[in-house]
């Protein structure tokens, strides 16, 4: 009953569905981020979408957040490509400059408005409990599109991730593949921002994939495990925060709880693999 009860309320059921779908999506794309070593770029994206979130909200309210973030994310991808094209600036420098510039614009815009702190909290940490049916549909559409793109591009992406020069030699268009990869990451960041906020998105993307990587050496195992861990953490985190607030009078932010559950799962996976390795080693020597 514990894990089912909260979701008899429609708003909780929607939040659960949103977090579970997002968790699965972020877990899947997280594997791509980890293997391409795009963690820092992803972190930068989570910050550069911030002014988009704010402007979208200021112009058209809740519904504008998604589109504002999407435009800011696309702008980041384009600027990043332009800045690093001639190798005049290294990628990490370009990222750091973009990250802080965009984030500062967001902060200035928010502070300009009244109700500064409440809004800022919502943007930074998300508002999962107010997710609407329409937003849930948006997330589902994004998930279907991203998973389809990954399925179609799995071989070129794999070749590019493993051996960029070899992939180029084989005739794959690396620039185009990288652009698609950045776009996929940007779209997933944007889809997640509204629910868990700009600060916590990175955890949702990186931690399930990192945990899954400790469990297996095979991508056919890593990807589904990451997706399941992401969905599981979304569900468990929301349930725990609900239970704490309703039954124990303890207010736990849902986004933060989700991330802490993720970290718990990661440490669990790490401990399990280490123990497994020790056990096998002990058996060999015995």
């Amino acid at each position: 009953m514990y894990f089912i009860e909260p979701f008899t309320f429609p708003f909780m059921a929607r939040a659960l569905a949103e977090l579970a779908v997002l968790g699965a999506l972020a877990g899947t794309v997280g594997v791509l981020i980890l293997l391409r070593r795009l963690t820092f770029m992803t972190d930068a994206l989570t910050h550069t979408v911030f002014p988009g979130v704010v402007i979208g909200y200021l112009l058209t309210g809740e519904g504008g957040i998604f589109w504002g973030a999407l435009i800011a994310g696309a702008l980041t991808a384009v600027l990043l490509t332009l800045l690093t094209r001639d190798r005049a600036v290294t990628e990490d420098t370009a990222l750091a400059v973009l990250l802080t510039t965009f984030f500062a614009i967001g902060v200035v815009l928010v502070s300009h408005e009244s109700g500064y702190t409440t809004d800022l909290t919502a943007f930074l940490f998300g508002r999962i409990l107010t997710v609407t049916g329409q937003q849930l549909t948006q997330t589902l559409v994004v998930t279907v599109l991203v998973v389809a793109a990954l399925a179609v591009l799995r071989r070129p992406l794999m070749a590019r991730m493993f051996d960029p020069r070899g992939a180029q030699a084989a005739g794959y268009r690396i620039g185009l593949l990288d652009l698609v990869t950045n776009a996929i990451v940007a779209v997933v960041v944007v889809a997640s921002v509204r629910a868990v906020g700009t600060v916590l998105v990175i955890a949702l993307l990186i931690v399930p994939a990192a945990a899954a990587r400790t469990v297996s050496d095979r991508l056919t195992v890593i990807v589904p495990v990451a997706a399941v861990l992401g969905a599981l953490a979304g569900w468990a985190g929301l349930t725990i925060s609900y239970d704490a607030s309703v039954h124990h009078g303890l207010r736990l932010a849902s986004g933060g709880t989700v991330v802490l559950v993720l970290i718990g799962l990661y440490l669990g996976a790490l401990a399990a693999t280490t123990a497994g390795r020790r056990l096998r080693a002990a058996r060999r020597t015995a």
Binding site: L35, M158, F162, D163, R165, G166, A169, R218
Partner: protein, 250 residues
């Protein structure tokens, strides 16, 4: 007979700095040529030019009678194994199957012919029993052999290898040489960028001496003279046991 590779006054420049000037030469099917020269001589640049990945500032590269970009399907490239991430979650079998990706396409599942070609290629480099191991768990020499197997699985007419013998143990070296010899017998032309002169002697009929410009292109014995090597390396060359020449890196 169409040459596997024809270089006609090839020059490459990065911006205003010239990386290669006036490289000429022809490689026939079944022949191997060693690109010899110090680090930064332009060996990798020449390989890129053959792959059609850098614009030429002058001259022309013809691969199997076609422009390089149009010949990629029949060209296989073997990178240095130690440039790849050993932590990457991929099995040896999957790496070799990658050589078939262009034939398999994006959506189709690998067919029996693809699996067979990959299996045979892995056998050819003596690692058939390692197919299920993770790529990164193999030794450096074994990884290099897996990458060669990936190239063999692509059934190339022209094979390009970038420093394939760097940090490779004796067993793997022999396996690499054997596999290269088999490919040549089947009619593939081979280009090996290396600074290992002894291996150039063992594997290649011809050498191309390179340091920005060409210091010689021709039969291995006749071309690898101490004078030419000294000119190429701009340093000291030692002569040992008649024809073995070792260059002291400055």
């Amino acid at each position: 007979m169409i040459p596997a590779l024809h270089l006609d006054g090839v020059g490459v420049a990065y911006g205003t700095t010239s990386a290669l000037e006036n490289i000429d030469g022809t490689v026939a099917p079944g022949e191997a040529v060693a690109l010899i020269g110090p680090n930064g001589a332009g060996k990798s640049t020449l390989i890129k030019a053959i792959l059609g990945l850098v614009p030429l500032s002058s001259g022309r590269v013809t691969v199997l009678g076609r422009a390089p970009a149009a010949a990629r399907r029949d060209v296989a490239y073997v990178p240095q194994a130690d440039t790849l991430d050993p932590e990457f979650p991929i099995s040896v079998g999957q790496v070799v199957l990658m050589g078939r990706y262009r034939r398999i396409g994006w959506l189709r599942r690998p067919g029996a012919a693809d699996r067979q070609a990959a299996g045979q290629a892995l056998e050819q480099v003596g690692l058939a029993d390692r197919a299920r191991h993770r790529f990164g768990t193999l030794s450096g020499g074994q990884r290099q052999r897996v990458l060669l197997a990936r190239a063999i699985a692509a059934e190339p007419h022209l094979l390009l290898l970038d420093e394939p013998f760097n940090g490779v143990d004796a067993v793997s070296e022999q396996a690499l040489l054997d596999a290269i010899a088999t490919l040549k017998k089947e009619g593939a032309a081979v280009v090996i960028a290396t600074h290992d002169l002894a291996l150039a002697h063992l594997a290649c009929e011809e050498v191309c001496l390179l340091n920005r410009r060409q210091y010689g292109f021709g039969p291995t014995q006749a071309t690898l003279t101490p004078e030419r090597l000294r000119a190429t390396y701009g340093g000291h060359a030692l002569e040992l046991r008649g024809d073995r020449v070792i260059v002291a890196h400055s």
